[in-house]
């Protein structure tokens, strides 16, 4: 017999009470672990996307709202396509790539899709060379920029639409299908199809991105303009700066150059997303803090009730020679086991929930975050001990003469 085995036998003698005592902590930890895992992985995903997209700037119609970077060009408003030339002609420092986009709704064999018109880089370069006859009007390299300029070979394959959000060559009768569209329509590269009354050849299929780009079909900007009758306009112009520093300087220059547009950096757009996510995460955390406090209060109440129930036993133990410290450890040990068990089980449940629900809730694959998990278990254990501290002290201060009282 040891203190530990006494605690263990007492816990085993009333398993349902133990379960109900620690249920609030278990659920609190499960929710905390699940939400933290999904939030952290979601933030990592956004950060990774941000890093991949680099120093992007969006030129949008004034009325555009910023909810989703990938859908920022689907706001409906338009701006003149000639802004693309204006940007090049202005010779702004650090401009590496400019890409105009126009979205129109279309139907592909019964499937509602978004047809996105883009201008291939080869035509932009030709236009640029034709319009900028003097070297001094060409975009200047950004001083101190260490980022390598994109080469045409980087943009040769259709996949560059995903990796660099631009494509080098795209003929007027060629299409690139997003992953979802290709899967649902069962088309593959090289097939031909009818869209908006025109015949196109599929140049390639994009890999899955998990964004709205998966449900888009990309075609030449001018073809989309002609087929939709929208005229020489676009919904958005994406400007890729050579580095983050350049993007920071470019924004005020572009705002000055194109005063009737909204110029935002990708960071701002993504920050909007991150901000919404963070607000939700903070709100969830607040709810969880309340839940954990309720769990702590519930456990404190349960231990206090346990002390009341066991007054006679405590008195007897004291009569037999138990010190106040032994009695206190009897209850703190119980709280430690409850907290550790509830924390560990809650953590496992939370992890399982995050791994299963992460892809569905936030389009992220969740892996175990050891420090977060460990912290949650330690927090639950600490909370249980703190909650039991006062009832345990009360138990230690009980009058041993209770052992003589009649039941």
């Amino acid at each position: 017999m040891t203190l530990r085995s006494m605690i263990w036998h007492e816990l085993r003698s009333r398993p349902w009470t133990v379960l109900s005592n620690s249920l609030a902590i278990l659920l609190g930890v499960a929710a905390l672990v699940a939400i933290r895992h999904i939030t952290v992985h979601s933030e990592q995903e956004v950060s990774q996307q941000l890093s991949q997209l680099g120093a992007n700037i969006l030129v949008l119609p004034q009325e555009a709202t910023l909810q989703d970077y990938y859908a920022a060009d689907q706001n409906g408003g338009t701006i003149p396509e000639e802004h693309v030339s204006e940007i090049y002609l202005a010779g702004l420092t650090g401009v590496e790539q400019v890409s105009a986009r126009l979205n129109v709704p279309a139907n592909l064999g019964g499937l509602d899709i978004t047809l996105t018109g883009i201008l291939p880089q080869s035509e932009l370069e030709a236009q640029n060379a034709w319009q900028t006859t003097a070297l001094f009007t060409a975009p200047k390299a950004h001083e101190g920029c260490k980022k390598a300029k994109l080469s045409t070979t980087d943009l040769e394959s259709p996949e560059s639409l995903v990796t660099h959000r631009a494509i080098q060559n795209l003929k007027p009768d060629e299409l690139v299908l997003g992953a979802d569209v290709a899967e649902r329509s069962a088309f593959s590269a090289g097939d031909t199809l009818e869209l908006l009354g025109r015949t196109f050849t599929i140049l390639g299929i994009l890999p899955t991105t998990g964004t709205v780009d998966d449900s888009r079909v990309f075609a030449h900007l001018h073809t989309v303009q002609d087929a939709s009758g929208s005229g020489p306009v676009c919904n958005a112009i994406e400007v890729i700066g050579c580095c983050e520093d350049a993007a920071g300087d470019l924004v005020p220059d572009l705002r000055k150059l194109l005063p009737n547009t909204k110029v935002v950096t990708i960071s701002q757009v993504v920050q909007t997303q991150v901000g919404v996510n963070r607000l939700m995460a903070n709100t969830s955390l607040l709810v969880l803090v309340v839940l954990v406090v309720v769990g702590g209060a519930s456990l404190a109440g349960a231990i206090a009730a346990n002390v009341r129930e066991r007054r006679r036993e405590i008195g007897t133990l004291m009569a037999l020679g138990a010190t106040p410290s032994f009695v206190q450890r009897l209850f703190l040990g119980k709280a430690l086991i409850l907290g550790l068990t509830a924390g560990t089980l809650g953590c496992l449940i939370g992890l399982a929930t995050a791994i299963v629900a992460g892809p569905a809730w936030a389009d992220v694959t969740v892996s175990v975050l050891p420090m977060t998990s460990l912290l949650a278990v330690l927090m639950a254990t600490g909370l249980a001990i703190v909650s039991a501290w006062w009832p345990a002290r009360q138990a230690a201060a009980l009058d041993p003469c209770l052992c003589f009282q009649e039941v």
């Binding site: 017999m1 040891t2 203190l3 085995s5 006494m6 036998h9 007492e10 085993r12 003698s13 006679r312 036993e313 008195g315 007897t316 133990l317 004291m318 009569a319 037999l320 020679g321 138990a322 010190t323 106040p324 410290s325 032994f326 009058d399 041993p400 003469c401 052992c403 003589f404 009649e406 039941v407």
Partner: protein
């Protein structure tokens, strides 16, 4: 062994002061078998608690050998009980979620003895009280008499020099009562000091000395004439 010097104990109940013990002076020698008798509420249990180091007197001193018990800190008094005293309770006070064996091990556990030593000693005691086949039974699975025998084994397991008993035969049938009183007689023969608080004249008659408490006043009735130097069995 025990020496009470002008010990008074007052309780405060709902604003009223109740005197449970009034200026008691008493000496209990080593190896004495003392019965404390008196009507309900006369202060018998208070006296037992004072002797057990569990209830500080309002005034006066309680000495155990050369130690003033209540000048010791609470934890030291616990250690004193663990090392020198054994308690017998009217309602046995067995821990309900522990087996008979584990209940008997408790005093040894509190002394920090190893699990093997605890088990060996507890099994030995339980076998002595005829419970070798009930080691793994919980109190709820034992008869009243068996429960009191487990409690007796627990009292004696740490080999206490002093046994303090609170109405040890109060809830027992005559046969079980005899087992308890025989155990006390045996302990007395072994030279232990026994203080029994009881209403039971049969139990009181087995003691070598009787003390009477009435309204907190202690009267020493002196040597018990019914007591035999070598106690013999008596029927109820």
């Amino acid at each position: 062994m025990f020496r009470l010097e002008n010990v008074t104990k007052h309780y405060s109940r709902r604003g009223e002061t109740v005197t449970a013990l009034r200026g008691a002076d008493l000496t209990i020698s080593d190896g004495q078998y003392v019965a404390i008798v008196g009507p309900s509420g006369s202060g018998k249990t208070t006296m037992l608690s004072l002797l057990g180091g569990m209830l500080s007197p309002t005034t006066g001193k309680v000495w155990l050998d050369e130690t003033s018990i209540y000048d010791l800190p609470v934890s030291a008094r616990s250690v004193l009980r663990s090392q020198r005293m054994g308690f017998v309770f009217q309602t046995f006070n067995l821990v309900p979620y522990l087996t008979a064996l584990q209940n008997v091990q408790i005093p040894l556990c509190l002394q920090g003895q190893s699990a093997a030593d605890q088990e060996q000693r507890a099994v030995e005691l339980l076998a002595r009280f005829g419970l070798a086949d009930r080691l793994q039974h919980r109190p709820s699975e034992l008869s009243i008499g068996q429960q009191q025998r487990v409690a007796l084994a627990r009292t004696l397991v740490n080999d206490p020099r002093i046994i303090l008993a609170d109405e040890p035969t109060g809830n027992l049938d005559p046969e079980s009562r005899e087992v308890v009183l025989d155990a006390f007689d045996a302990a007395h023969r072994e030279g232990r000091t026994i203080v029994v608080v009881t209403h039971d004249p049969v139990a009181a008659g087995r003691a070598s000395r009787a003390l009477t408490l009435r309204a907190g006043e202690l009267t020493d009735s002196g040597a018990n004439h019914e007591h035999h130097e070598f106690p013999q069995r008596r029927s109820a």
